[in-house]
């Protein structure tokens, strides 16, 4: 196909050839082409088949309002080829066809539409019930458009960007550019977003002129140049705005050029105010076969010629409802298109100059006429025009039918910003009845079409936005308001809803193959709200995001149901433009915290797991049973990285009061040099945290929380003291301190090699707390704890020194064969001691008493209003609770799995943790059981998953299982 290569409006570079592979053949396009325009240049007219009826579909709008040109590009399904820029070497395939788009042997389905009225799925295929599974398989196969393979790997670089600006302008047409320039005058930072690869909007391809006689395309290029030269305007081209959220948070994504480092880029803009200058798309004209290949909207036909140099047909009929249609007819005629007739829906009100131009070119014009039917299948061959009332009909041959009912504003950004929308009877548009805060419309979206008025409204909106963002714009707003007011205001819109047709083949939604007839059926079935009709008929739920039916559906419903007087719009939802998951995901960082000892744990062979927000070494044994790690702690000495523990300091005059509020114990009894183990409960008395508290001085405490609670602890304490006005400071030291746990009978010997304080049990007893320096330099808080049941020291060391201390201990321990142990070994060790881990031996509903930790609770500090105390008092009398008990299997070689149920005829509890103990040779564990089963000696029945009816048995036994007197940990 010959291109019109010399037009000043072109956005292609004809000399720069690109190739693409289409159905196995290599064809040529040029730089600036979209995939679809390149294919069109190569004679392709049928791009796809429709979802349900497999009707042939062609170029219709060029802005992606429907799935007509959706194809598979490089293995990516549903690519809207009409606005996807061609890149060299693209591989393009058709979708949803058996055969090809041109010859699809599923096309016969189009004849079966009578079998598929609105909602037919709901009424069929379930009688008899046995056919449904079969039918469902077929439905699944028939549904869906594109294919993605399960092992598809998306290529490219997906960036993300978070920016701050005072004003964001959405839409880079004349209004948007003018708005950006006006807003930038006061020095504010302005972001300008334009979805096409170039600025210019509806001026970009038009040769008609401004009042001063400048062609609009030149005016657009002048404005673009000014924008470019304005330093505080940041322009993002090829960038579609997709979301608007509270406080004017705008999201968008940009498609990268070949020279960019990114394929696509997610952009989030936090701005004070927003100008919406998104202009208009066209309201589709509804008539019989209104979506045949060869039926195009005005802008599409016009831009094909002016932007891409492709005459969209050779012989055309126009059926339009707006002056832009007449303007396009004149211009396309001058570019060589034969025009057999222009039917204008409007009886009057046309621009006289355009009428004159049409007359000069001897183009017949029929006023009050409209297309009623397009003939031909894979391309339009002729058209039946009819008077708007349907009384008189005439046929014209053509291979191009330019059809459009008028304009429809792109109000998506307003709707996303929660604007209430209402029908404006002058323009026929749905417009915001009240503007969202700091959001201003500009340009054609307001109903104006006069070029001067478009720019004037842009300037006004830009200044208002700047003012709303805090700029001092002086009197300029008033001046701009005055300037705009003398120019033509919003134009009266064409109100025709459909051509005079029955509507069996008149499509209101192309993506879902929804016809006017389907809508009528839905209404007759009682679906009288557009939103419901949308759901029932699927109209507007396809890849085109409602671009085709968005305006027409409510208009039609209002017309057809006399009960609704004014049309009610349907909602629009983000993203306004379909957006790749890859683009939304951006960098997709892994976000886990590493302890100060992370690298050395890896070097020592740690097998890591994600535990909460951390990555921790769970095993140092490939077989995961951790036998060696465990026995080494029991018999020798081991080291554990405990740095994930929550660590806090609280101090200030009321620090003790705060602790009394959240801890169940009497914290006034904490003595200097000693540690106190205690727990926190919630209002239900359920244990949410446990840890130790150390008194550093008067009203100065250091305390630990479980790993999982570290993040919430500050807020928890703040919340529960919020009405008291207490004076204390609370610092989260979790990341500032590393923790090394050194445990086992030889722990003292190892530690004594690196510290020079007296470590004897008399000087530093069990439950003691000491502070000292290692190597005269590193400050250490040391606690003698017994979580794993052996002689054990927990050293809290500033993070930056933790590795050094670890290395010293490792060196010192070498002669004993010190080795690491991981979280799983610790789990077994502490289980043998029946020390609980919250979340493992407790669940959400487990309270302090259920866990057997009632001894921690000091009931005599009522004044403290301890969180959970009320519930605990009540629960004391409650027999119907689960209790934590120790159990031992009758068969020591068959420990039950964690999570096994304890049952009789009902579920009575479950096994929390159970292992075969290497130390004692017994299969022992802890279980939560109903209190009736909690007595020592009770035989319990265990139901494991996949047990096939075979039950296991155990008995409740005394705890702990290991070193009941605690001699080892106190040694």
């Amino acid at each position: 196909m010959n291109r019109l290569n010399q037009l000043p409006t072109l956005r292609i570079t004809p000399s720069e050839k690109l190739s693409l592979n289409y159905r196995g053949k290599t064809v040529q396009g040029v730089a600036g082409d979209t995939v679809a325009t390149a294919l069109f240049a190569n004679g392709v007219r049928v791009f796809a088949r429709s979802l349900k009826y497999h009707r042939p579909r062609g170029l219709y709008s060029l802005d992606g309002e429907c799935s007509n040109t959706c194809m598979d590009v490089n293995g990516v399904p549903n690519v809207r080829t009409e606005n996807t820029l061609l890149k060299d070497g693209m591989v393009v395939r058709e979708q949803n066809v058996k055969g090809s788009a041109d010859r699809d042997w599923l096309a016969f389905i189009d004849k079966l539409d009578w079998m598929m009225p609105a909602g037919f799925y709901y009424k069929t295929m379930h009688k008899p019930a046995a056919i449904w599974p079969v039918a469902m398989k077929q439905i699944r196969k028939a549904a869906g458009i594109g294919v993605i393979s399960a092992d598809y790997q998306m290529k490219g670089q997906y960036d993300e960007m978070f920016i701050k600006a005072e004003v964001t302008v959405i839409g880079g047409g004349a209004a948007g550019m003018t708005a950006a320039l006006a807003a930038a005058e006061s020095g504010q930072r302005v972001v300008l977003l334009e979805s096409r690869p170039h600025l210019g909007g509806c001026f970009d391809y038009r040769v008609s002129t401004t009042a001063e006689g400048t062609p609009l395309y030149e005016r657009a290029r002048d404005l673009a140049e000014k924008v470019k030269l304005t330093g505080n305007i940041r322009v993002f081209k090829h960038t579609s705005m997709v979301g608007a959220y509270n406080n004017n948070l705008i999201t968008a994504f940009q498609v990268g050029k070949a020279s960019d480092t990114f394929t696509e880029r997610y952009i989030e803009i936090r701005s004070d105010s927003v100008v919406v200058a998104t202009g208009c798309i066209e309201r589709p004209l509804i008539f019989d076969h209104n979506e045949r290949p060869g039926v195009m909207q005005v802008g599409c036909a016009h831009r094909m010629a002016r932007t891409y140099g492709l005459l969209p047909g050779s012989e055309a009929v126009f059926s339009v409802g707006h002056d832009l249609g007449l303007e396009a007819a004149v211009d396309l005629f001058d570019l060589g298109l034969k025009i057999n007739c222009v039917a204008d829906i409007r009886e009057d009100g046309q621009n006289p100059e355009l009428m004159l131009a049409l007359a000069e070119r001897k183009i017949p014009v029929l006023k009050g006429w409209v297309a009623a039917k397009a003939h031909g299948c894979k391309k339009v061959e002729k058209v039946t025009l009819s008077t708007v009332e349907g009384t008189v009909k005439r046929q014209f041959p053509c291979d191009l039918l330019v059809a459009s009912a008028g304009l429809t504003p792109v109000t998506g950004p307003f709707i996303l910003a929660q604007a209430k929308m209402g029908y404006d009877s002058h323009t026929g548009y749905f417009l915001p009845t009240e503007l969202p805060e700091k959001m201003f419309p500009a340009g054609r979206i307001t109903g104006v079409n006069h070029p001067g008025a478009i720019e004037a409204s842009g300037r006004l909106a830009g200044l208002k936005a700047a003012a709303a963002a805090g700029a001092d714009v002086g009197k300029t707003v008033a001046e701009a308001e005055k300037a705009a007011s003398v120019l033509p205001g919003p134009e009266r819109g064409c109100k025709l809803v459909t051509a005079p047709v029955k509507g069996r083949k008149s499509f209101i939604c192309f993506d879902e193959d929804t016809t006017i007839k389907n809508i009528k059926q839905a209404i007759e079935m009682g679906f009288d709200v557009p939103e419901l009709i949308k759901r029932f008929t699927s109209a507007g739920t396809g890849p085109g995001q409602g671009g085709i039916p968005g305006h027409n559906l409510p208009l039609f419903v209002a017309k057809y149901t006399a009960s609704i007087s004014t049309p009610v719009p349907t909602t629009v939802r983000p993203p306004l433009v379909p957006t790749f998951l890859a683009t939304y995901a951006g960098y997709n960082h892994h976000m886990f915290k590493h302890t100060p000892l992370h690298d050395s744990q890896i070097a020592d062979g740690g097998i890591f797991r994600n535990i909460g927000v951390w990555q921790r070494a769970r095993y140092f044994s490939a077989d995961f049973d951790c036998r060696e790690e465990i026995l080494n702690v029991r018999n020798n000495v081991g080291m554990l990285d405990g740095s994930t523990l929550g660590k806090f300091r609280i101090h200030g005059p009321d620090a003790l009061k705060a602790l009394q509020r959240v801890y169940v114990s009497d914290m006034s009894k904490v003595k200097e040099g000693r540690i106190k183990y205690s727990a926190m409960c919630n209002d239900d008395g359920c244990v949410i945290d446990d840890g130790v508290v150390v008194k550093l001085g008067e009203n100065d405490y250091y305390f630990t929380t479980s790993t999982g609670r570290a993040g919430q602890t500050v807020e928890w304490i703040r919340y529960h003291t919020r009405f008291d006005g207490w004076d204390f400071s609370l610092v989260n030291l979790t990341d500032a301190m590393g923790v090394i746990n050194i445990s086992g009978p030889n722990a003292r010997k190892v530690l004594s090699k690196v510290v020079d304080i007296d470590l004897s049990s008399e000087a530093f007893p069990f439950s003691g707390y000491r502070e000292f320096l290692i190597k005269d330099a590193v400050f250490v808080r040391a606690m003698r704890l017994g979580f794993v049941g052996e002689l054990s020291y927990e050293l809290h060391v500033p993070s930056s020194y933790t590795q050094a201390v670890w290395d010293l201990l490792k060196e010192a321990g070498a002669e004993f064969g010190i080795r690491n142990f991981g979280v799983e070994a610790q789990n077994v060790l502490r289980m043998e001691k029946c020390h609980v881990i919250l979340g493992s031996e407790s669940e959400q509903r487990t309270n302090l008493l259920d866990l057997g930790l009632g001894f921690l609770w000091d009931r005599k500090k009522a004044d403290a209003k301890t969180v959970g105390a009320v519930a605990l008092r009540q629960a004391e009398k409650d027999a119907g609770r689960l209790k934590l008990v120790g159990i031992r299997m009758e068969d020591d070689d068959r420990p039950a799995r964690d999570g096994a149920l304890i049952v009789d005829n009902n579920v009575r509890g479950y096994v929390a943790t159970m292992r075969k103990s290497f130390t004692t040779g017994q299969a022992v564990g802890m279980a939560l059981v109903e209190s009736q089963l909690a007595d020592i000696g009770t035989r319990i029945e265990i139901f494991e998953d996949e047990c096939n009816g075979v039950r296991l048995y155990a008995r409740v036994v005394a705890t702990p299982f290991y070193d009941p007197k605690g001699e080892r940990m106190k040694s």
Binding site: Y122, M136, G144, A150, Q153, R897
Partner: protein, 407 residues
């Protein structure tokens, strides 16, 4: 065409001044209860009062996942019955609810999660519900798109596979139940808002609506996310419910890719393919209580990040639409179904969070029984409101949940 279109749920009727029972909320639970009241208990003089249109609330916004692998013995039998009811209702209502019992996979990303799954699976098996623990490789065989490599944020250890679950067409349930209820004589009043509940001497006497007053001895509040606010404002009863926004989204339609519902707790993300071919996916709830159904920029991004990890082929697919609804969360993730306690004739059915779709059929059946007889069926007894007063949470969730700052 061989169907004549006629109104699916009856002609519009006038609001009568008195009904035997009034149901506030034309959602899943209201419609199901009305249907069973009329069909099984002969209580046909029933009005459903719906502020907007039927299905406006969660009923029209959910992702239609159904399953019966809950955690506790109180819940499993109820959900099992609900699951078994889909084919029965399809037949009874003569409306295709499009039950696709494709099975659910619940991914496990840690040893601790595997242990938790074991308990849930044992509970299911104990109650005769099919559910199995499978390893990552088996999961991959069922869901070829799954990424079971080690180098993702939460590597997949295995999954809980629950074959009888699946998806049902949510809109069909709304319209089908409405059709059934109307057929048995229930009046469905759309665009009618309940504004007050009247009581006298501890008894329900009527409901005030935007279209006038109705005398009735029985009222059920089943207004989804709006229930807690409504019950407090109308009767002063405070419920331990936090209302949060929950969002869901769909991609562009694809040819069959996912044959199961797949979900991941660690990623806060689930995905399934609708019969239309869209991948429907949902995120966890917003972390702060609010009554709006507004979307947030964060969640769609989060969802894309999560899916990029565990269903990486979807990176080449586009999101098409996201929406929000309300999730009314109780502290123990189990609903509140109660009646005849505070006021004689006052019933409530709420706190359904994000699991009120899968339960609605069975709940409708038992709530109808409750309302018709005045006595609480055994099945519903554990769900009474007083359990919170007694600090006896149900245990439907193991983890500590915190929807409000105070717990």
């Amino acid at each position: 065409m061989f169907w004549k279109s006629k109104p699916l749920w009856g002609n519009k009727t006038r609001l009568k001044s008195s009904y035997d029972a009034v149901i506030i909320g034309g959602g899943l639970h209201g419609l199901a209860t009305a249907y069973y009241l009329a069909k099984e208990h002969g209580l046909t003089d029933v009005a459903i009062i719906e502020k907007r249109f039927i299905g406006f609330g969660g009923a029209g916004r959910n992702t239609a996942i159904v399953r019966a692998n809950q955690r506790t013995q109180y819940n499993v039998p109820l959900y099992k019955e609900a699951l078994d009811l889909w084919p029965v209702l399809t037949k009874e209502l003569d409306y295709n609810l499009m039950f696709n019992n494709c099975g659910n996979l619940n991914l496990m990303h840690s040893e601790a999660a595997m242990k938790a799954a074991r308990m849930t699976i044992a509970t299911a098996q104990f109650h005769g519900v099919e559910s199995h623990l499978i390893d990552a490789k088996q999961a991959k065989e069922l869901v070829p798109a799954l990424n079971i490599s080690e180098d993702i944020t939460f590597p997949i250890h295995g999954a809980m596979f629950h074959p009888p679950g699946g998806i049902v067409r949510h809109d069909a349930v709304v319209w089908g139940l409405a059709k059934g209820a109307a057929k048995h004589g229930v009046d469905i009043h759309q665009h009618t808002e309940a504004t007050a509940i009247h009581t006298e001497g501890g008894k329900i006497t009527g409901v005030e609506t935007s279209r006038g007053r109705i005398h009735t001895p029985r009222v059920l509040v089943s207004a989804g996310g709006y229930s807690a606010g409504l019950i407090y404002h109308m009767l002063g009863i405070k419920l331990p419910i936090a209302v949060l926004t929950i969002q869901a989204m769909v991609t562009q339609p694809l040819k069959p890719l996912l044959d199961h519902v797949v979900s991941s707790g660690a990623y806060h993300c689930y995905a399934n393919q609708t019969l239309k071919g869209e991948i429907a996916t949902g995120a966890h709830m917003d972390q702060w209580p609010n009554y709006t159904t507004q979307n947030t920029a964060h969640y769609i991004k989060h969802q894309a990040e999560a899916l990029s990890d565990w269903l990486p082929c979807l990176r080449g697919v586009k999101f098409m639409r996201i929406w929000g609804g309300l999730a009314d969360m109780t502290p123990d993730m189990a609903p509140i179904m109660d009646g005849n306690d505070h006021y004689e004739g006052f019933y409530m059915d709420c706190g359904w969070g994000y699991f009120g779709f899968k339960s609605c059929s069975a709940v409708g059946k038992y709530m109808a029984q409750y309302m018709a007889s005045g006595h609480c069926p055994d099945m519903l007894k554990p769900f009474n409101l007083r359990r919170y007063e007694n600090h006896q949470l149900m245990g439907e969730t193991a983890e500590l949940v915190s929807y409000t700052p105070n717990n």
